[in-house]
């Protein structure tokens, strides 16, 4: 049992438990699962006097739950790594710990931030929450996520030989 917990959890445990987050957040908190709106809230907090309507109209009081939720994600990961893992978790591969890796993360991160705000949701909000609620826009969003990711995979395979 302990070994089972300390090893990576198989999909048939982790998948349903991820889905349960949708129910927990609704039932205990009346909130719809979503993570990427935290980027907007953090920007609005960083630039409280911004004249950009997207940031100026952000209701930080209303958003506080979301910032607590993402802080919780970080704390939970700390607990999982520190107390619930037999082996270190390799989040990013060794070769990303370099200047070129940092640039990839910055550039790719930019696309993650811009894209998820434009689409108004990410894997949590659209793929998990949106699909659970049978929303057509979320289905199109998820198909677009995979269209983008698979295009990038194809380009990487052709030009850089897969791994980079």
């Amino acid at each position: 049992m302990t070994t089972f917990i300390l090893n990576p959890w198989p999909w048939w445990i982790s998948g349903p438990l991820i889905g349960l987050t949708v129910g927990l957040l609704l039932f205990l908190g009346s909130r719809n699962l979503g993570v990427s709106s935290s980027f907007r809230h953090l920007c609005a907090l960083a630039f409280p006097k911004s004249s950009l309507p997207y940031l100026a109209t952000d209701n930080v009081r209303e958003a506080s739950w979301n910032l607590l939720f993402v802080a919780g994600i970080a704390l939970g990961a700390f607990v999982a790594v520190r107390f619930l893992s037999a082996h270190p978790v390799e989040f990013l591969p060794q070769h990303y710990h370099s200047l070129s890796g940092a640039l990839k993360l910055l550039g790719g991160g930019f696309l993650v931030g811009l894209g998820t705000r434009w689409a108004r949701g990410c894997t949590s909000g659209h793929a998990i929450m949106g699909l659970s609620n049978f929303q057509k826009p979320s289905l199109y969003a998820v198909l677009s996520f995979f269209a983008g990711g698979l295009c990038a995979a194809l380009i990487a395979k052709i030009f850089f030989g897969a791994l980079s």
Binding site: W9, W11, S14, P16, I18, G19, T21, V22, G23, L24, L26, F27, L28, G29, S38, R40, C43, L52, L55, V70, A71, G72, A74, L75, G76, A77, F78, V81, L84, F91, L92, Y96, L105, G107, G108, G109, L111, V112, G113, L114, G115, R117, W118, A119, R120, H126, L131, S132, P137, A141, V142, S144, F145, A147, G148, G149, L150, C151, A153, A156
Partner: protein
């Protein structure tokens, strides 16, 4: 407790994201290169359970322990799901990380995720700036 519950539920989510390894670059690459079915099975089973939760909540119209009505939001259709979704997909492949895992990586001690977060915040700021000029 009113606010603390969101931190606790975030912790729950963070523990499971980490233990499922969807927070690792390797797992995301394995998904996009169809090397293993895990991510597809995780998303599929998560949606199955999530849909059951949504169905039960719609049926029983419960109140939260704090007496709040449970509201399920519905997203209107807009063009951004295509354009933005595609751009996010590119970024998801490049970084091997989607938004939830960025926070998980930081909490788990992967400090290079600060670059991903900095990029994502710059991207969100760019969206705020470009929004009037972009198709909705």
């Amino acid at each position: 407790m009113r606010q603390l519950r969101y931190l606790l539920m975030g912790m729950y989510f963070g523990i499971i994201l980490t233990k499922s390894e969807v927070v690792t670059w390797h797992k995301i690459r394995a998904m996009f290169y169809f090397r293993e079915p895990d991510l597809y099975l995780i998303i599929g089973s998560a949606v199955a359970v999530g849909a059951l939760c949504v169905w039960l909540i719609r049926r029983s119209k419960p109140k939260t322990p704090f007496g709040e009505e449970v509201t399920i939001l519905s997203t209107p259709m807009h063009k951004g799901v295509f354009y933005g979704g595609f751009l996010f997909g590119l970024g998801w492949f490049i970084t091997g990380t989607c938004p939830g895992p960025i926070y998980a990586q930081l909490g788990g001690g992967e400090f290079f995720a600060l670059f991903t977060l900095a990029g994502a915040l710059a991207g969100a700021y760019a969206f705020a700036w470009l929004k009037p000029k972009l198709p909705d």
